[in-house]
């Protein structure tokens, strides 16, 4: 395998084809394309579980404490007579958050597309280290497995919210889920972080070292830029979460007092002294905030690429797009305190974090305007991937705008931890990133499986999902502004909120429909994998290098020499050419200037 790596791309030595067994081809594969597919399938399975959980707790919110066959079937002893238990409600929201943020939108999204696209789009035969790449996938698999195992422990899985703030998460007597369930959660996350770091290192090294001849940094597709910068953010911030997790394990199991102090619970004073939960909040959000950009940047990269291709137009403001990715990446590491305005930290710090947080709106606005200008006067090909990309921009704007309320410390006092927050982050990073992921799957499915997905099913999938996404999250802003706190098992303890009950029913109905329509997608995905129409080599008439490889996957990607690159990746509808796209490996014509983008 390693013999096939070609770091310069101009050596024409033959690619060896080792005899492959089932195990080396499909299970312990070191081929980046196979690893990408493994990430995607694992992420999909986790996604199905995460969405199912959200539907269950939405049903509980809409019809609180009513027996339900679904609960009886799926929750067993945790839903006596089919009525969901309050602890299980918290467990469901916790594991839903954990799975969606880390397992689906970090590993599933970034893992899939970094692996698939980085080598193909920069013109490399594989990742810098195929072996580490394989290890990183299998760590992800183990971590997913442990997380799922935690659902079956006696006292229930972790239930302290996906932010696992101690002392709630540290003391088994404070909550059932803080026993074995939390231990498994922490172990699973520690392994997850290890896989993320291995992956990130690999992506960074690959982008820096293995670009083919002519592929300068300013000719890279924006996908690669986004995935590259995402890897850097991950490398900077994930270790901090690892330290937080390790210190929490110490507090839980070895009696240290990093995060705990002066606790009286169930009739006894605990020995902890001198620690502070606020310290944990700082450590957690030092990763936690960059994490949302780890989730959204790859989606931004995929969407930029898909929008340009399907608009038959260069992405508008290529350099501004790169600059805004870098600006977002930098700012993302100095805004974490906006999750902690009312945590008891010094109000002056709150002022600083308000300032840095609102700054991040500027590069985000630049990106949104650039996407809108990209489709202006284009020749839009409404493939499902394009629809999801337009949907991405729509939800990114809707969700992003309310960030200027939450980022403003004075306003955050009153909407902190209400449904307003849920509406905001689901639209801006949840739904948007999922749209980016769907867009990427529809667009690169032919590259992954050599077949096309059914476009009509894609259209149904998009439009119903789009309506449901707004139907679920738009009204949530308003119930948040009415003061309804998140993570409440039922709102019936407060007559004050009784007039919001109907809105909650409508939201749940949209959520159920939105969840069900994903079956159309899953059907389309798995059936097309085997029976879809055979794909052409370059079905979307794209300029980037991945479409110069043969449809059938081979080790080393290109049967012959790696193509050289002569132009940037956005020569769509360039005057002076007959076709409306010029692939990157086509040399400049005589007298043709490479656009000084």
């Amino acid at each position: 395998m390693s013999a096939t790596l070609d770091t310069h791309g101009h050596d024409d030595h033959d690619v060896h084809h080792h005899k492959e067994t089932f195990v080396t081809k499909y299970i312990f594969s070191q081929d980046h394309k196979m690893i990408a597919k493994q990430y995607l399938i694992t992420g999909t399975i986790m996604g199905v579980i995460g969405v199912l959980m959200s539907i269950m707790f939405r049903i509980q919110i809409a019809w609180p404490e009513k027996p339900n066959i679904l609960f009886e079937a799926l929750l067993g002893k945790w839903a006596p007579d089919g009525v969901m238990d309050a602890d299980v409600y918290l467990a469901l929201v916790t594991i839903h958050g954990t799975i969606m943020v880390f397992f689906v939108l970090t590993a599933g999204l970034s893992g899939t597309f970094s692996n698939l696209l980085i080598p193909l789009q920069i013109g490399a035969r594989d990742m810098a280290s195929g072996f580490l790449n394989m290890v990183s996938y299998w760590l992800f698999f183990i971590s997913s497995f442990i997380m799922l195992c935690s659902l079956f422990v006696e006292a229930g899985p972790a239930a302290a919210g996906w932010t696992i703030y101690p002392p709630l998460s540290a003391l088994p007597m404070a909550q059932g889920g803080s026993g074995m369930g939390m231990t498994l959660w922490l172990i699973s996350m520690a392994i997850f972080i290890a896989q993320s770091l291995l992956g990130s290192l690999n992506y960074i090294v690959t982008v820096i070292n293995l670009r083919t001849k002519g592929m300068s940094m300013t000719r890279l597709p924006l996908t690669v830029w986004a995935l590259f910068v995402t890897a850097i953010i991950g490398l900077v911030s994930f270790p901090v979460l690892l330290s937080a997790a390790l210190l929490l394990i110490m507090d839980r199991s070895f009696g240290t007092s990093f995060f705990l102090s002066d606790i009286f619970i169930q009739g006894e004073v605990l020995h902890y002294q001198g620690g502070s939960p606020v310290l944990f909040e700082h450590l957690f959000w030092f990763l936690g905030h960059p994490e949302v950009y780890i989730v959204i940047l790859p989606a931004m990269g995929l969407v930029s690429e898909i929008m340009a291709t399907n608009s038959r137009k260069p992405i508008f403001g290529y350099r501004a797009m790169i600059a805004s990715i870098l600006a977002i990446a930098f700012l993302s590491t100095i805004v974490w305190g906006h999750h902690m305005f009312v945590s008891g930290m010094n109000p002056f710090l709150g002022s600083v974090f308000t300032f840095t947080t609102l700054l991040i709106a500027i590069p985000s606005a630049v990106k949104a305007f650039n996407w809108i200008t990209t489709i202006w006067k284009g020749n839009l090909q409404m493939n499902p991937a394009m629809l999801f990309s337009i949907g991405f921009v729509s939800t990114f704007i809707t969700g992003g705008l309310t960030g200027i309320i939450l980022g403003d410390s004075a306003l955050d006092i009153n909407v902190h931890d209400t449904y307003f927050v849920i509406a905001h982050f689901h639209l801006v990073m949840g739904i948007s990133a999922i749209y980016g992921m769907f867009a990427g799957i529809y667009h690169w499915f032919p590259k992954m499986y050599g077949r096309m997905m059914n476009k009509n099913l894609g259209y149904i999938h998009f439009w119903i999902t789009a309506i449901c996404a707004y139907g679920v999250f738009f009204p949530m802003h308003f119930i948040g502004m009415a003061g309804l706190p998140r993570r409440y098992y039922t709102n019936s303890a407060f007559p004050l909120f009784d007039d919001l009950a109907n809105a909650n029913v409508i939201i749940t109905i949209f959520a159920i429909i939105g969840g069900l329509v994903q079956i159309v997608y899953l059907y389309n995905f798995f059936v097309s994998m085997f029976y879809g129409k055979k794909a052409e080599q370059n079905p979307w008439k794209s300029t980037t290098l991945e479409w110069t490889t043969p449809v059938e996957h081979i080790h080393g990607n290109w049967p012959g020499a790696i193509p050289h690159v002569y132009r940037w990746s956005y020569d769509y509808s360039k005057p002076g050419h007959d076709d409306d796209f010029v692939p990157q490996n086509v040399p400049l014509k005589e007298g043709e200037e490479e656009l000084q983008h």
Binding site: A174, I263, S276, N379, S394, P495
Partner: protein
């Protein structure tokens, strides 16, 4: 209501399935089996983009109409609340304008420039003036919001001790609240969870030997005199909690091992607030809904009819009964408050 919603739901699903079948049929009839968008697809989806834009505007309108009385953006019951509400309105208007315009541009362009065979897109890769414009406009707008926001924040968070605020301790535990008033000296006695003595009913761990603690009194309801600044000192004995008082635009976490604080001046008494037309309307509406669910509510042991009260609720996940951790707040005149305070048992007398 539930029946109606169920019918709507079933209808939705039926329509969806019917649409799917129809499109399947069309796909079979079509000449090419291409899975790449044709001009026909571009056209249909272009129109759907416009329809979707209308949908976004409609759902905005409906949300505003049904849920938009925005009880949290009017009727604030504290001095600083008005400032927060002003800033909220300004931010909301900015958001609403930008949202309306950008969604229009996005969906309109998606419709207007839907692909046609043979047409070539405009090769338009860059324009520094445009980039400059949409960098500088957000900068100016955000600068305004940041400056306004920071002034408001500093006003709220920097507590001026010279104003002689009424000092009250808010004490959180799984899953209830207690308030400790500082009494005549307006100074709280020292306390620590290590001093908790359940047998003697010293549940907050107040230092019995501290002279300042002698006139303290502990209650399970908060009474506040209108027009006087209150300084809340928050403590928690077990896990994180958050003291959220939405009507006063006040929130602060209660952190084990440290004391956090938040201050505000209540401006409207409970009796006055109950008279406000918006509140009367809201209460009436809620009570109608509650009568519909009479049996269920009585079974749960709640009072059927709701009467408006300010509340304190827990807003940081704290365990199983997090959803039901509340305490009433009563704002009254100074005379009423003094009379109430006189009736309370002081801390030394409350011990066994």
């Amino acid at each position: 209501m539930t029946a109606l919603l169920t019918i709507i739901f079933v209808l939705f699903v039926a329509i969806a399935i019917w649409q799917m079948v129809k499109i399947f049929d069309l796909a079979q009839v079509g000449k090419s089996n291409s899975q790449i968008a044709t001009d026909e697809d571009n056209k249909i989806n272009g129109y759907l983009m416009i329809a979707f834009m209308v949908f976004i505007y409609v759902i905005t309108f409906l949300s505003l109409y049904y849920l938009g009385d925005l009880p949290l953006m009017s009727n604030s019951a504290s001095e600083h609340g008005e400032e927060i509400d002003n800033l909220m309105w300004i931010s909301m208007i900015v958001i609403f304008l930008v949202q309306t315009i950008t969604q229009f541009l996005l969906h309109y362009f998606a419709y207007k420039y839907k692909g046609e065979k043979g047409r070539k897109a405009l090769f338009y890769a860059d324009n520094n003036t445009l980039e400059f414009i949409w960098t500088i406009i957000p900068v100016i707008v955000l600068a305004g919001l940041i400056i306004y926001g920071l002034f408001t924040w500093n006003d709220i968070m920097n507590i001026d001790e010279d104003e002689d605020p009424l000092v009250i301790e808010l004490y959180a535990q799984q899953f209830s609240w207690k308030a400790r008033y500082s009494g005549g000296d307006n100074v709280l006695g020292k306390a620590n969870v290590r001093l908790i003595d359940i047998d003697r009913a010293n549940v907050l761990g107040v230092d019995e030997n501290d002279p300042n603690a002698q006139d303290d009194f502990i209650t399970s309801e908060i009474h506040l005199p209108v027009g006087r600044k209150v300084l809340f000192k928050m403590r928690s004995q077990d896990v994180l909690h958050s003291a959220y008082m939405p009507h006063f635009r006040a929130q602060m976490n209660c952190v084990p091992g440290m004391v956090t604080q938040f201050a505000f001046t209540p401006t409207v008494t409970t009796a006055e607030m109950r008279q406000r037309p918006e509140i009367v309307e809201k209460v009436k509406n809620i009570n109608e809904l509650r009568r519909e669910r009479q049996a269920e509510i009585e079974e749960a042991g709640q009072e059927l009819l709701y009467e408006f009260d300010y509340i304190l609720l827990c807003n940081k996940i704290c365990g199983k009964s997090h959803y039901n951790m509340q305490m009433n707040i009563i704002v009254e005149t100074q005379e009423e408050f003094d009379a109430w305070a006189k009736e309370q048992t002081t801390f030394p007398n409350s011990l066994n």
